[in-house]
């Protein structure tokens, strides 16, 4: 599998926790410590999916998502917010910023992987991300990019 995932989180523990199981699935993982570095890494690489924390120094995750969406090559790239913040108002801000989903920490790897597969497979067959819930049942079993 040749997917490339960008993990943006100021916690090295979280990045390490996410990295190992993703690499075990054959995913190439790129890390960034804050939103600003995340933008830089995204510009330098061809990222298939972004996992972004919200509360980070320098530039927070929602601001980074807004900036990413301004870049033509990341206009439709799946972006999940991965945070400990469950407040409805923040979730709404995430949607407004351009995220495709909101996941609460701590996350189980299996659940996260299913979500990642879901969006990347949908994207690979050009199913619109906003209709993910309906698209899942129709998505093919193939996982190759």
């Amino acid at each position: 599998m040749s997917w490339c995932i960008l993990i943006v989180d100021d916690s090295s523990s979280v990045r390490s926790q996410l990295r190992a199981p993703l690499e075990a699935k054959g995913v190439r993982v790129i890390e960034a410590e804050n939103g600003s570095e995340g933008l830089w890494r995204a510009r330098e690489n061809n990222i298939d999916l972004v996992l972004a924390d919200v509360h980070m120094p320098v530039m927070d995750g929602l601001r980074m998502i807004e900036e990413l969406r301004k870049l033509r090559e990341y206009a439709t790239t799946p972006i999940f917010v991965l945070t400990s913040d469950a407040a409805s108002s923040r979730v709404a801000e995430g949607k407004k910023a351009g995220a495709n989903g909101w996941i609460l920490k701590p996350v189980k790897h299996e659940m996260l992987w299913k979500a990642i597969e879901k969006v990347l497979v949908c994207k690979s067959v050009n199913v619109n991300l906003p209709s993910l819930e309906h698209a899942t049942a129709q998505a093919p079993a193939s996982h190759s990019k």
Partner: protein, 303 residues
């Protein structure tokens, strides 16, 4: 100060409860001392909204049972800690205790300060941290920590005055909004290492900054779960990133006189200390049923 944050100490003039009175004062209680049970009854009649009565055997060896009955009649919600002398002459009879006329807690004298502190904390915690919040704090910590092992709350929860002894590694996250305060998670380096090995198996080297980062992230996730509880009651809270403190043996002080709600969680040899502090809170906001459904763990909100 509201009258339900008052503690009445019944002790002989040269009694043993002086240190306890100081501690209660630090926890934010108004402490009133009287030397006899009759003086105590007069006080209760005048101010029946007392939180707690602590009576030493020096003052209770005569007329103890009558006092207990009358005190509960005058102030039904008051909690009573009763000192028992070495010869047990001050102990209320078992039959009285069975009839509900006994004290809430019996403590042998001479008082051991840690034992008395624990009992007082348990009896008074509700005044600062309603049961719903206390349960939310414990549940949040267990939910986050139990991803890597079977953690349990050791003993009960207890109150800590605003001058906490710090461990090797501590992370503090302040929050504000509908309520304000902070959450602190602390542990020794040894326990942090055990936790690191459980949460990040195979990730080497185990450096102090990495262990500290894990402590901060756990603090962040636990606070997020507690905030979810408030969000369900339409109380919005914002929090930032962790502040790290490496200062074993030092004392952490914060403004305000409210105590923190403290819990210790253990899993085998790993031990995590957690202190949650609310500087202000309108407990009436929790009286209404859950107003908003928030995202739960294991749930993904797709946009």
């Amino acid at each position: 100060m509201s009258t339900d944050k008052q503690v009445l100490v019944v002790d002989a003039a040269n009694g043993t409860l002086g240190g306890v009175m100081e501690e209660l004062d630090e926890l934010g209680f108004q402490v009133i001392w009287v030397p006899t049970l009759s003086a105590a009854l007069e006080f209760i009649q005048a101010r029946p909204k007392l939180s707690l009565i602590i009576a030493s055997s020096a003052a209770t060896h005569v007329g103890g049972l009558d006092f207990l009955v009358q005190a509960k009649e005058l102030a039904p919600s008051v909690r009573i800690i009763w000192g028992i002398s070495a010869d047990h002459s001050s102990a209320p009879s078992p039959s009285a205790t069975r009839r509900g006329q006994g004290p809430d807690s019996l403590i042998p004298e001479p008082f051991r300060s840690d034992e008395l502190r624990t009992v007082i904390s348990e009896l008074l915690a509700e005044h600062f941290y309603p049961a719903a919040i206390a349960e939310a704090i414990k549940a949040a910590a267990l939910e986050v920590l139990s991803g890597r092992g079977d953690f349990k709350v050791e003993g009960g929860a207890f109150l800590v005055a605003n001058q906490t002894a710090l461990s090797d590694l501590s992370a503090v996250i302040p929050f504000n909004g509908g309520v304000s305060g902070h959450l602190m998670v602390g542990m020794t380096s040894e326990h942090a290492k055990l936790l690191y090995q459980a949460f990040l198996p195979g990730v080497r080297p185990i450096r102090i900054d990495r262990m500290e980062d894990l402590v901060g992230e756990l603090c962040n996730q636990i606070l997020g779960r507690i905030n979810s509880f408030f969000a369900e009651h339409a109380v919005s809270i914002q929090h930032g990133t962790p502040i790290f403190i490496r200062a074993p043996g030092s004392t952490f002080r914060y403004p305000g006189r409210q105590p923190s709600f403290a819990v210790t969680l253990v899993n085998g040899e790993a031990r995590v200390c957690l202190e949650y502090y609310l500087s202000d809170f309108d407990r009436d906001r929790l009286q209404s049923p859950v107003a908003t459904r928030v995202l739960q763990l294991g749930e993904i909100r797709y946009f």
